[in-house]
């Protein structure tokens, strides 16, 4: 919330306490009794605003005490015509969803913390301990939050899980293209949600794509060819062919760039692995799943 243009309370925990999110119970009670005891707007100051742990409210209670940690990584790669990787950068973040009661104090350690040299933390993380021991020590906010995000610019070549070979030829008022996609080193995991987006140059009027696998389509408004492949198949041969019609006479200056999206679950490209998570300060016993 802002006061005179200056941010006053931005942590979601504090905001949720100030204005309680709608829930079925609350709405039912509200309709039955005209006035609601469980008012939408709280009349006491959220505990977070005052304490030195402003991101966590007190009095949290859950039946099952659980905390989920998701390691999500994104690969940004630039590949040139011949398939050599020019730039490869890994951006990762750890999203956590904490459903723990009370005020637990967690310590998270990694197998290979030296990988993480460029990190930005949620304010709850104790920086000094990270500096000295490479251990994440924090009191988590309640609910979902981003614990940290990091960046690894790999000097060594990142193994790309798929390859794309494009071929474009334009002549006169028409052209042809063919794009082949196949899996490379995937470390046994399945590559899912594969999608290729090819923005066509401005002189293109129409494209007719067909493919051996997946669903290609052309959107004339944004002038992009989208090819939805879904799961990458190892056995099948996947290629998309198409003919391109252009406004007469103009040949595009260069071949379009292709943007490839894909998703692999259960795999961290950087090789980062969590080794253990300890909980202090609370009396329930954790077990890992």
């Amino acid at each position: 919330m802002l006061d005179n243009g200056y941010p006053l309370a931005t942590e979601s925990n504090v905001l949720k306490e100030l204005i309680k999110p709608p829930s079925l119970v609350r709405s039912v009670v509200h309709t039955i009794t005209g006035e609601s005891k469980l008012a939408n707007v709280s009349s006491t100051l959220p505990t977070g605003q005052l304490s030195n742990v402003p991101w966590r409210r007190t009095g949290v209670k859950y039946a099952n005490n659980e905390i989920f940690l998701d390691l999500i990584e994104e690969l940004d790669v630039i590949i040139d015509k011949s398939g050599t990787t020019i730039v490869a950068e890994v951006q990762g973040k750890i999203q956590a969803n904490s459903r723990l009661s009370g005020m637990p104090d967690l310590t998270l350690s990694f197998m290979n913390p030296r990988l993480l040299d460029d990190v930005s933390f949620h304010p709850c993380v104790r920086y000094k301990r990270w500096e000295s021991e490479r251990v994440l020590s924090f009191i988590p906010p309640d609910g979902p939050f981003r614990l940290l995000s990091y960046q690894i610019s790999s000097q060594s070549n990142v193994a790309l899980p798929l390859y794309v070979t494009p071929q474009f030829s334009f002549s006169g008022g028409s052209g042809k293209f063919e794009v082949k996609v196949g899996p490379k080193q995937t470390m046994g995991k399945v590559v899912e949600d594969v999608k290729l987006v090819v923005p066509m140059p401005s002189c293109v009027t129409n494209v007719n794509p067909t493919s051996t696998y997946g669903m290609p389509s052309y959107d004339p408004v944004s002038r992009t060819v989208t090819w939805n492949i879904g799961k990458l198949q190892t056995q099948k041969y996947m290629s998309m062919n198409g003919s391109v019609t252009m406004t007469s006479g103009e040949a595009p200056e260069s071949n379009p760039t292709i943007m490839v999206e894909f998703k692999i679950s259960q795999l961290a490209v950087s090789g980062l692995k969590v080794s253990r998570l300890d909980i202090y300060g609370e009396k329930f016993k954790p077990f890992k799943e």
Binding site: N4, S27, L50, S51, D76, L148, M259
Partner: protein, 730 residues
């Protein structure tokens, strides 16, 4: 402000900034079509009479509905001023929802209905004495947001009382109220300054950020108020909330520039030890430290603390200066881009040069954010890299262009690459550039070619390669690329004209095939300037240009005239008639610039073969050697703006910009920062020793906590730096 996936059905209490017409800070998504609450933006709003009767009813539910509808209408911009009396009556309501909605309405309309607004003041004054701190704070907040000048003294009183309140939240609200009151009535500045001074002494982190914001708005030049609180602020820095951190860092940058000596004064002297040391052991440590460059100053710090710095020869960094830099460092790991940027500009303006390296990685990390953040960060990096290019060289690959980047980001990245390119990386970069040239984005391709030119200028070993590369571009199919190459080649050729005679020749041949005006003008100029080197080409080029003179654009015409004049001076036999033809055409041209061109008008006088006074100097005037242009980064001249400021982003002084002062020649007395009650300082000294040495369990926490094991909702004002109750670290 929206929490993930949360759709609030009610309006939050957000008093709007001054002068804004409607509370636009709404997280009321129009799609709050929940069953219980009516859609706020429904087209069929009730008439004012209906609303008035709803507001007068005795049931809270009705009042709440009415208020929600009213605020919805205000948000859409409909006028609800005549509902004022009915709404104001409800300010005494016990229901907090209704109260807050009434407050929002009041803040919006109080200025228009000042007399009626005064009716509600007594409620607020009562609210200020309420035992519930939230109510006190809300009352103060509304009171300060109502812009009715008559109540300024009441506001002043309220603020003064709240400053000594037990609850830190109320004190924080008071700190926010100060700039609001100041903008309402600037005459009260002196009293407000006193209040700020009192608040500055506050020990809680919650208040610190807000009071610095108030300080910056009301009296930013009163640096003397900061002295006693300097060390406390530095130590609290990590614990303050993110927005407070940004304000404090900015303020401390300005403070540091006026109080500490320039840490870079020893740059000139060779091998000047960074700290004054009297033992060799420490000097070794020193040189190790300087080599590692990055975050290795902790050990040196430790040693320094144990010894008292003696004032010998060389420069000693004031321990307070060092304190600031050290405490700001962990903030580089913050998730908030503004904080990281703040620390970067702090280090840029205030830190010694060899410590600046730690900034680079976090800045690069910021490039992964949103496009808008990227744009600002890139423009700041462009300014820094124009000055310190070596620092960014290992990270060159992060600046490569992605095909999804928008044009302004591409141009910025290109600028940085051209700045940072070094001899080792230049060949890879040139390969990259070659790919960029064929991009469909015309502006970007043109900028790439200019970047090639810049790189060719700055790195001498590739000038030849670049030049040849650019010449090969002249046969590119794109008109645009050819034109831009010509312009850049012209600039490069001026560096070494004699060696590149044949290139000039080649370029001259393009004169008829190139149609882009800038390019054609460049070719004509080139030929004219170096007509002595390409004597055979000159007249022919002029002939072709003269044939088409009337159809050309203005800059081409100007250059043709110049060319004619220069050729006549060097080669009168062949070109005299041509020149006369061109000049007579120019005399009757539609554009006055061409008609009045001194060359064409005076030409009649001194080139007709008569020996007037001017004709002796004609050669000197027209064919004087000109210095070659220096191709520079567009961001070089932004260096005098403070990094990260709005003025820097727009490259001109924005209102409210305060220039950073230069370092003082003699740093003022540091003893003003000594506080009588040194127990604070003593504790922190202990804390530091712990941090450096012990990996023991007693190491203090990253953030302070309230004494006692439970964080309760009551007003607790514990002493900072006490460890978490009971918990022991193993």
């Amino acid at each position: 402000m929206s929490t993930g996936g949360y759709q609030g059905p009610t309006a939050d209490f957000t008093p709007t900034g001054f002068g804004s017409d409607s509370p636009e800070t709404s997280s009321r998504n129009g799609a709050s079509a929940s069953v219980i609450n009516p859609p706020l933006f429904a087209a069929d709003y009730k008439r004012h009479e209906d609303l008035k009767s709803m507001l007068d009813s005795s049931k809270d539910g009705q009042k709440r509905e009415a208020m929600k509808l009213i605020i919805g209408m205000v948000a859409k911009g409909k006028d609800c001023a005549d509902l004022f009396p009915a709404v104001v009556k409800n300010v005494v309501s016990k229901d907090s929802e209704i109260k807050k909605l009434v407050y929002v309405y009041l803040v919006r309309y109080a200025e228009e209905q000042q007399d009626l607004a005064l009716l509600s003041i007594s409620t607020f004054q009562k609210g200020l004495k309420d035992p519930n701190q939230l109510i006190r704070a809300s009352a103060l907040r509304v009171l300060s947001s109502i812009r009715v000048p008559i109540i300024a003294p009441i506001m002043m009183l309220a603020i003064k009382e709240s400053v000594t309140d037990m609850s830190p939240f109320v004190r924080k609200t008071a700190a926010h109220a100060i700039p609001k009151l100041f903008s309402l009535d600037p005459e009260l500045k002196d009293e407000l300054v006193e209040v700020i001074e009192k608040l500055l002494k506050d020990q809680t982190t919650l208040v610190a950020g807000s009071v610095v914001m108030a300080f910056e708005t009301v009296c930013p030049d009163r640096i003397d108020m900061i002295h006693k609180n300097y060390r406390k602020l530095c130590n609290l820095l990590v614990d303050v909330d993110e927005w407070g951190q940004v304000m404090i860092i900015n303020m401390l940058t300005r403070y540091a520039r006026t109080q500490f000596a320039n840490p870079n004064q020893e740059e000139v002297a060779e091998d000047a030890p960074f700290y004054v040391e009297s033992e060799e052991e420490e000097e070794e440590e020193e040189s190790e430290e300087e080599e590692s460059g990055e975050s290795g100053d902790e050990e040196g710090e430790k040693k320094k603390k144990k010894k008292k710095p003696k004032k010998k020869k060389g420069y000693t960094m004031d321990p307070d200066h060092r304190l600031l830099l050290k405490n700001a460092k962990p903030l580089l790991q913050s998730r908030n881009a503004a904080v990281v940027m703040g620390v970067a500009q702090l280090y840029h303006h205030v830190a010694p040069r060899n410590e600046f390296g730690i900034i680079v990685k976090p800045l690069i990390r910021l490039l992964k954010g949103h496009v808008e953040t990227q744009a600002i960060v890139l423009s700041n990096i462009a300014t820094i890299s124009a000055d310190r290019c070596a620092m960014f060289e290992p990270y060159l690959k992060s600046f490569y262009i992605h095909s999804s980047d928008p044009t302004n980001i591409r141009l910025l990245k290109l600028d940085i690459i051209a700045n940072v390119a070094g001899e080792s990386s230049i060949h890879t970069i040139l390969r990259e550039f070659r790919t960029y040239i064929s991009s469909p984005d015309k502006q970007f391709a043109a900028a790439t070619i200019e970047a090639i030119g810049r790189v060719a200028c700055s790195i001498s070993e590739v000038t030849e390669t670049c030049l040849h590369g650019l010449m090969s571009l002249l046969s590119h199919k794109s008109e645009n690329v050819v034109a831009q190459s010509v312009v850049v080649i012209k600039k490069l050729l001026q560096l070494h004209p004699k060696q590149n005679k044949d290139l000039i020749d080649q370029v001259a041949r393009l004169a008829d095939s190139v149609t882009v005006p800038m390019a054609k003008a460049s070719i004509l100029w080139l030929v004219g300037e170096y007509c002595s080197l390409v004597p055979k080409m000159g007249p022919d080029v002029l002939r072709k240009a003269a044939k088409n003179f009337v159809n050309e654009s203005d800059i081409v015409k100007l250059q043709t005239v110049n060319l004619a004049a220069k050729l006549v001076l060097s080669n009168p036999k062949q070109t005299r008639l041509l020149c006369d033809y061109v000049l007579s055409l120019a005399k009757y041209d539609q554009n006055y610039d061409i008609r009045d061109n001194p060359v064409s008008s005076l030409n009649g006088l001194f080139l007709q073969g008569e020996e007037t006074a001017l004709s002796k100097y004609a050669k000197k005037i027209l064919l004087a050697p000109k210095p070659a242009p220096v191709l520079e980064s567009a961001f070089k001249d932004r260096i005098h703006w403070q990094l990260g400021s709005l003025s820097h982003a727009v490259n001109s002084e924005a209102t409210g910009y305060m220039a950073l002062s230069d370092f003082p020649a003699e740093p003022p007395d540091p003893s003003v920062r000594n506080v009588e009650d040194d127990s604070w300082w003593g504790k922190t000294k202990e804390k530091k020793k712990n941090l450096h040495g012990d990996s023991d369990s007693e190491a203090s926490n990253f953030y302070s906590s309230i004494s006692g094991s439970d964080v309760s909702g009551s007003d607790n004002e514990g002493d900072c730096f006490v460890r978490v109750g009971g918990g022991e670290w193993v």
